[in-house]
């Protein structure tokens, strides 16, 4: 029975190389456990990012055997059946060092997509009563489970070939706010996502939906945004 795992880790920045390490296999071992073992027992100069270790914070996403995954909740048994593991930084983002990427472009696109809540009331108003069973609230409740891990962004072919594209996460965030009846910024938001690089650039390849660790469906959210922006355009609410 194999007791060790051969793991290749990306070392360096944009121009680096994969280096192989041997890590002892353990039961219920996650990809993050393997990376942590290398950093603590073999090479303390290895850089990577994590915080909660339980699938909440969204900071530990990496490319695992060619696919972006949240490493703290990805078991070795699921992804390294042949005893080999290759772990790299997320695609479509600048590499800072080793397994850490610069998430700034990712969050700048949230800003471009008007991903910040636009309040319509003040703290002096009564708390808004939101019915949980309306279609709009259900849509918002589902998409709001996004943990900002960047897996969808790294998986997206359109982001890969069109650096201007906002990406699945920013558009899913926009979709939650479009469905939030307390928000007052929807015209500006629809305007922001209706131009080049906005929701209409999506080709519906559905890699985001397939790999989202929260089992969200950004493709469906983007398709709904296409319809919503088209309706707003035809009504003259937004201009191109």
């Amino acid at each position: 029975m194999t007791t060790e795992l051969a793991v290749s880790l990306w070392r360096g920045a944009e121009h680096g190389r994969y280096e192989t390490y041997r890590v002892p296999l353990r039961s219920s071992q996650t990809v993050l456990d393997v990376v942590t073992f290398v950093q603590r027992h073999i090479d303390p100069t290895l850089s990577y990012r994590f915080a909660c270790r339980v699938g909440v914070c969204g900071s530990c996403a990496m490319t695992v055997n060619g696919k972006p995954r949240w490493t703290c909740r990805t078991h070795i048994a699921k992804v390294a059946g042949n005893g080999k593991l290759e772990i790299g930084p997320l695609e479509n983002l600048p590499v800072i060092k080793d397994l850490t990427t610069d998430m700034q472009p990712f969050f700048e696109k949230w800003q471009r997509a008007k991903g910040a809540f636009t309040p319509t009331q003040t703290r002096h108003d009564a708390i808004a009563q939101i019915k949980p069973d309306t279609p709009a609230r259900k849509a918002a409740d589902e998409a709001i489970e996004c943990i900002n891990c960047g897996v969808c962004y790294a998986a997206c072919d359109t982001v890969r070939w069109n650096g201007d594209y906002l990406g699945p996460a920013a558009l899913t965030r926009a979709w939650t706010l479009v469905n939030d009846e307390r928000d007052g910024g929807n015209i500006a938001r629809l305007q922001a996502i209706a131009g080049a690089g906005g929701c209409h650039a999506c080709h519906s390849h559905q890699s985001c939906q397939e790999l989202c660790p929260q089992a969200l469906n950004p493709t469906a959210a983007i398709a709904a945004l296409k319809r919503r922006t088209a309706a707003a355009y035809l009504k003259g609410e937004i201009k191109i």
Binding site: A196, A201, A230
Partner: protein
């Protein structure tokens, strides 16, 4: 792709869907009834209905296809947006001219 092009592409697709069905039905009808070119021209020449049908078809195709080509050029070539737009407009005009010329050939008396 922006929302204006998206609306135009979807709208022309919606126009083309029934026209394609009728066009295919016409092809089946003409071939299964053994109609000659003279038979077909005898029915289409001077027909405002066929001129309107295929004229609309050609215009819808020209708009729809040129938007699609624009997307391909925009995503797969290093051309800037201005050149991409120029290529797409040129492609659409070529399709429209060739198509309308063909329609004229079968409907003008």
């Amino acid at each position: 792709m922006n929302v204006r092009l998206y609306v135009w592409q979807r709208a022309t697709a919606a126009v083309m869907a029934p026209l394609v069905m009728v066009h295919i039905a016409v092809i089946f009808y003409a071939t299964r009834h053994g109609m000659s070119a003279a038979d077909i021209l005898g029915r289409t020449r001077g027909s405002i209905a066929w001129a309107a049908f295929y004229g609309l078809f050609v215009l819808a195709v020209s708009i729809h296809a040129s938007i699609g080509v624009r997307n391909v050029l925009s995503e797969w070539t290093p051309l800037n947006e201005r050149r991409v737009d120029a290529c797409a407009v040129f492609f659409g005009l070529v399709l429209a001219v060739l198509g309308l010329r063909a329609v004229a050939a079968v409907v003008l008396p």
